[in-house]
């Protein structure tokens, strides 16, 4: 049984089909790559899954539960997390506070207990701070923990975005172009980190243009073009697929 089942997903914006007749399964503990030219519908796909807008048609099942069209905060309760292409952070907070904010859904003690200064609740919050620090160490940002998020260089901001997503303790992590704007060294580092995240039991859907990252990380690759799935398979198969090559070479950029 798949962790995530997408059935006949369609998303239209007016007359424009951003996603058309998409069927996809994502299984536990795998890293699925989602690639395709710009505008192929990859970010729309993420947005539909995470409830930014509902699909026009089709269904999304997560762990056998129908999450189609649910609001974003409800879907977060199902432990699906994502990062964003433009670094979406709490700019005025410190790096550490950013990650701590991510723990919101993970507290076991009731909220009013926190207000009443009940020790067990406040203890949980201190533990959350420690866990946040662990995540920062895991991702290599610990030395910057008190720095204002707005002051971080771009690459670090993207990693911070991933840290915040990790703080929610997700089962499924949607990574939206995490390697954009990174030099080869940073990309290698990112690849290692993503592998580690998967090794910690988190299933990942990775949207990326950087082929080094995609080839290194993904168990399977799904290719979208103009909102449709045009290929799905092992990395080696995909690089040889004629339709895929044409989709990319038909555009200005040369990714291979």
């Amino acid at each position: 049984m798949a962790m995530l089942e997408i059935r006949d997903l369609n998303k239209y914006f007016g007359g424009l089909a951003a996603i058309k007749d998409l069927n996809l399964d994502v299984f536990n503990s795998e890293i699925v790559g989602l690639i395709g030219p710009n505008g192929a519908g990859k970010t729309t796909f993420f947005n539909v899954i995470t409830g930014v807008y509902p699909p026009t048609l089709g269904s999304v099942l997560f762990m056998n539960q129908d999450i189609t069209g649910l609001k974003t905060y409800k879907i977060a309760q199902f432990k699906i997390a994502r990062n964003f292409q433009d670094s979406i952070l709490f700019m005025k907070l410190s790096v550490l506070d950013n990650v701590v904010a991510g723990f919101h859904g993970n507290y076991k003690k009731a909220e009013w207990k926190s207000f009443m200064y009940i020790p067990s609740a406040r203890k949980e919050e201190r533990a959350a701070k420690r866990k946040a620090l662990e995540i920062l160490e895991f991702m290599g940002l610990a030395s910057l923990k008190d720095e204002l998020a707005a002051n971080l260089p771009h690459g670090h901001q993207r990693i911070l975005g991933i840290c915040i997503a990790l703080a929610t303790n997700p089962k499924l992590l949607l990574l939206d172009e995490p390697a954009t704007g990174m030099n080869p060294e940073e990309t290698s580092n990112l690849i290692m980190l993503v592998k580690r995240i998967r090794d910690n039991g988190i299933t990942i859907i990775l949207v990326e243009h950087d082929m080094q990252a995609v080839m290194n990380l993904c168990n399977r690759i799904v290719v979208l073009n103009y909102g449709r799935k045009i290929a799905e398979g092992l990395p080696d198969e995909i690089t040889k697929n004629e339709e895929v090559i044409e989709a990319y070479l038909g555009r200005e950029e040369d990714y291979f």
Binding site: T50, T72, Y73, F90, H104, E111, T168
Partner: protein, 333 residues
């Protein structure tokens, strides 16, 4: 930011608090004039109202309707005591709750559209409430209600009976209410609820992906803030012994916002305290007559916007930023 200027040594903190406590407790006996004591009492009321504004602001909501819930509390308490014969001491919390319930009901409708629309909707609520009280003759209409009874005497067994014959017991009562508000609001701001509010304020989209239910937290902050405004309304009604719709017009809500801006919107407790105090006392000490008071306030607001948008409490930070700039210039030379 709650108490950004933290005094780290616990001993210093204790001494500071104790000194402050001594001053506050002995204040009525240091200020001989009932008129100035009246100003202090009004300042306390304004501080609480300003804090309710800051509470909502910490969640990203700007309200121009604080005076409306102040009004609802005042009128509710008056009706409870004068028409239903309930003791003031029961009417006080009830008035707060009634104001909170109204805010809850309004909130369910207007909180879905945060931002500018929300501000306008609170503006409209304020106008509606004032006009409602003005047109309902049973509530005194535009002339208002006078002769509102004072709080009943408190009897401390075997020791003393506190009657509200002078301003002094009123002062201690509002001081108590102010203290309680500070404690409750500080607890809220420093708890997970406060963190959720600030997340919503900084980045609602991101907050949602972290599981924060924007609607719920926004309704919550609106309800709590308005309930405390209503509580102060009850005090005000039985202190002033008169209430009229004119007191609660939109200008008051605007002033409440200015109390917050003047002090510093990033400081949720100290900011309102400083801003409300200054604006309550300054017109007196500057000998500004009531007609010209809006000119003073307006000019001050414009100056603030140009020179000091962060309010008074942002001055230390601006100074240190300037000195850092100067150091850089010196190094360059």
């Amino acid at each position: 930011m709650l108490l950004k200027y933290k005094i780290n040594s616990p001993l210093k903190r204790l001494i500071g608090l104790l000194s402050l406590g001594v001053i506050l407790i002995s204040l009525p006996f240091l200020i001989r004039s009932p008129y100035y004591l009246h100003l202090v009492i009004m300042a306390c009321i304004n501080i609480v109202l300003a804090m309710t504004f800051s509470l909502m602001f910490s969640a990203g909501l700007i309200t121009l309707g604080a005076a409306a819930f102040w009004a609802i509390g005042a009128y509710a308490s008056t009706v409870l005591v004068m028409n239903l014969g309930i003791s003031f001491w029961l009417a006080l919390p009830f008035a707060g709750m009634i104001a909170g319930i109204f805010a809850f009901a309004f909130g369910l409708i207007i909180v879905r559209t945060p931002g500018f629309i929300f501000v306008m909707e609170t503006f409209v609520i304020n106008m509606m409430v004032v006009h409602a009280f003005g047109h309902i003759t049973q509530l005194g209409g535009w002339g208002g209600i006078c002769g509102i009874p004072r709080p009943g005497a408190i009897t401390i067994p075997f020791i003393y009976q506190i009657t509200f014959a002078t301003k002094i017991p009123y002062y201690y009562l509002i001081l108590l209410i102010l203290l309680m508000t500070v404690i409750v609001f500080y607890a809220l701001h420093s708890s997970r609820i406060g963190t959720a509010w600030r997340s919503i304020k900084l980045n609602p989209g991101l907050a949602q992906t972290l599981g924060i239910n924007l609607f719920r937290y926004r309704v919550m902050v609106f309800t709590i803030a308005s309930a405390f405004a209503g509580l102060t309304g009850s005090f005000y009604a039985h202190y002033y012994e008169t209430i009229e719709p004119e007191t609660f017009i939109i200008f008051k809500s605007l002033y409440i916002q200015i109390y917050g801006i003047l002090g510093g919107l990033n400081f949720y407790i100290l900011g309102p305290t400083i801003g409300a105090s200054i604006m309550t006392f300054a017109p007196e000490f500057l000998r500004i007559t009531q007609e010209y008071e809006p000119i003073y306030t307006g000019s001050m607001l414009i100056l603030l916007a140009i020179i000091l948008p962060g309010g008074i409490l942002s001055i230390p930070e601006r100074i240190s930023a300037l000195s850092r700039q100067n150091k850089v210039k010196k190094v360059k030379q």
